[in-house]
């Protein structure tokens, strides 16, 4: 195993906004996290909470000219990458930092053979010869569990099933031996049995290559299976972050608790779904105080006016909630 040279990725106070016809959307509003070599961080949250935008910002793929990193820093292996020129960013994209997209049905180009799509990255990035790249691609296809790799290279995406396409997308992300892979809802578009196989594959790959991963998902089952640490995002902010056990068994933020409560469990005789009442705040005009307070059963007066600070629960566990403040008990007793 390599010795970790500090953090692999450090994101600090990241703000991303989009210009739309309706005004400026504050999609990501001050996100901090970091990842070490070999670690998997899961970013969980409901649709529109900014988890995909965060990952696109790290990849340098925020759609221009509408989207923009407004503030904050993204350091990858000690280099600030949020301000890199497109040209220099391209040397990192796909080679040291790669991404797996949500829908394998549309992520592959229908008019090119998968062989050509697999090899083009490594040919361009690492200046490999065609034969060497071809060999490498076959190795990768075998690693992700595709049989008959040699013949498969000549086929087109429509000749594969959804699960196989996702394996190809994963092989594509792995081929340049990146240090970090961002997987944006890699199993959402797949059916449940294939989901399990793909998650299994991630485990196996991580064991073999020691690659770090950011797993973007709204599926707590995926989190439980893959993550070392978990960041819970809500309305463009990380509201709670901790080891997997901290989040699943000692959740401190009311949103995390509500999220866990909303899981449908087949092994318990509960017959009703427990949704979180209300809707997330409007990100055209983000709230002044805590963004969750309108839906929070424990909301206090302070929550409406002042954003809660990030409070350490213990060494690796933090949450942004006024309930963790020393004065909360007194306020709740009084109110």
């Amino acid at each position: 195993m390599k010795k970790p040279l500090g953090k692999l990725l450090e994101v600090k106070n990241l703000h991303v906004s989009f210009q739309t016809h309706g005004g400026e959307v504050h999609a990501v509003r001050g996100v901090d996290f970091d990842i070490e070599q070999g670690e998997t961080l899961a970013i969980v949250g409901e649709s529109g909470c900014g988890k995909s935008v965060t990952s696109l910002a790290v990849m340098g793929l925020i759609p221009k000219p509408h989207g923009k990193i407004v503030a904050g820093s993204i350091q990858f292996k000690g280099t600030e990458i949020s301000t890199l020129s497109a040209k220099r960013m391209r040397r990192i994209q796909g080679s040291d930092l790669s991404m797996i997209f949500q829908d394998p049905m549309t992520a592959l180009n229908p008019t090119l053979t998968i062989g050509s799509q697999l090899t083009e990255g490594i040919i361009y990035q690492k200046k490999l010869s065609r034969q060497a790249a071809h060999q490498k691609a076959i190795e990768m296809l075998e690693l992700v569990g595709l049989s008959n790799a040699e013949q498969r290279m000549k086929q087109y995406p429509h000749q594969f099933s959804g699960g196989m396409r996702q394996r190809i997308v994963i092989a594509m992300a792995l081929i340049c031996k990146p240090s970090l892979i961002i997987a944006d809802e890699p199993t959402t578009a797949l059916d449940v049995t294939i989901q399990a196989q793909i998650l299994e594959l991630f485990d196996q790959i991580q064991e073999e290559t020691n690659v770090s991963m950011i797993m973007i998902t709204h599926d707590l089952g995926v989190v439980a299976k893959t993550a070392d640490r978990v960041a819970v995002m809500y309305a463009g902010k990380i509201v709670e972050m901790g080891d997997k056990r901290d989040i699943f068994y000692h959740a401190k933020h009311p949103y995390t608790q509500a999220l866990l409560n909303a899981i449908v469990r087949l092994d318990l005789p509960s017959d009703t779904l427990k949704p979180i009442e209300g809707a997330p705040p409007d990100l055209f005009a983000p709230p002044q105080g805590c963004s969750f307070c309108d839906r929070c059963p424990f909301a206090m007066e302070v929550c409406r006016h002042v954003q809660p600070p990030t409070t350490a629960v213990d060494d690796h566990h933090t949450a942004d909630c006024w309930l963790l403040d020393k004065r909360a008990d007194a306020a709740l007793a009084k109110g």
Partner: protein
């Protein structure tokens, strides 16, 4: 694949037969005979009778039809009635290379400039280049080629003395006819490429390509263009047709010795063998174009190729 080609070949022959029959019927539906006015001389009744017998025009129509089909099948259209010194094959052999040269150059210029203009417009979407390109495209579509041809002659031949006004004797003679003929199709192609390119560039697989760190040039040329070309290939068959027929007018304006002249003259003078020869020749050419377009589809989009083979 072979089966597909074979099937298409049979369909092509069937289409040609239908065209031949329609041409035959229309040709004989026009009143008048080739001998009404032969090179300005009025002929005696006996002479006309003899001539009609010689060309089998005195036979009943069904028999003429079979003679006609036989001559098409064997490519022996015989001599022209108006200019008995040369056969229809001579006329085609002399006129077609010129028309083909003009038509093909126009098609190549239209496709290349149209595709380039469309790509630039899409990449600079809503920018200055986009607006310029689309203004040019609208002008190109709305100005008929014969108007453009006359304007070009007026400006570059009459006013500026830069280019020769007509005939067909080399590169400088080709420039204006090709521009006049290519501008309309170019404009159509540019608009199509622009809109399909804009759509393709928002696809997920383009983002995948970006995530691989590929430079924009490779992304556009390798990933986007092949997908964006499909709608262009669809209209290419019809564009080729309009360019081929467009050559008739352009050839007339620039006094180019192509096939258009024979085509129009033969109909005016009821020169049956020449009508037959030129029509069948152009039809075969067009059908061949459409067939090539179909093959190009399969090359551009493997999904189409497979479903085609699967259905046979």
């Amino acid at each position: 694949m072979l089966r597909f080609v074979l099937n298409r070949f049979l369909a092509m022959i069937l289409t040609l037969w239908v065209i031949a029959t329609l041409t035959f019927l229309l040709m004989h539906a026009i009143p008048g005979s080739p001998f009404n006015n032969l090179n300005g001389k009025v002929l005696s009744d006996a002479a006309v009778k003899n001539l009609e017998a010689h060309y089998h025009i005195d036979q009943p129509l069904p028999i003429q039809y079979f003679i006609y089909l036989k001559s098409i099948a064997t490519f022996t259209y015989g001599p022209s009635i108006k200019q008995p010194a040369q056969t229809v094959n001579d006329l085609l052999g002399r006129g077609f290379p010129v028309s083909f040269e003009l038509g093909m150059w126009a098609l190549v210029v239209a496709v290349l400039t149209g595709v380039l203009l469309g790509i630039f417009a899409a990449l600079k979407h809503n920018g200055l280049i986009d607006y310029l390109a689309m203004t040019l495209a609208v002008l190109g579509i709305s100005i008929p080629n014969f108007v453009l041809a006359t304007l070009l002659i007026q400006e570059f031949a009459v006013n500026l003395h830069l280019l020769p006004a007509g005939t067909w004797q080399g590169l400088s003679y080709m420039i204006m006819p090709i521009i006049a003929l290519a501008t309309g199709p170019m404009a159509i192609i540019a608009r199509l490429i622009r809109s399909s390119m804009l759509e393709v560039l928002t696809q997920d697989y383009i983002r995948t390509a970006q995530a691989k760190g590929l430079p924009p040039f490779i992304i556009v040329m390798k990933h986007a263009l092949k997908n964006a070309l499909l709608p262009v290939v669809t209209v290419l068959g019809t564009l080729a047709a309009s360019i081929l027929t467009g050559t008739f007018v352009i050839e007339k304006i620039f006094a180019i010795p192509g096939m258009g002249k024979y085509f129009v003259d033969s109909i005016n003078s009821r020169d049956y063998p020449v009508i037959m020869g030129t029509t069948m020749f152009y039809s075969a050419l067009l059908i061949l174009m459409l067939f090539l377009v179909d093959l190009a589809y399969g090359w551009l989009d493997p999904r189409i190729k497979q479903s085609k083979e699967g259905s046979k």
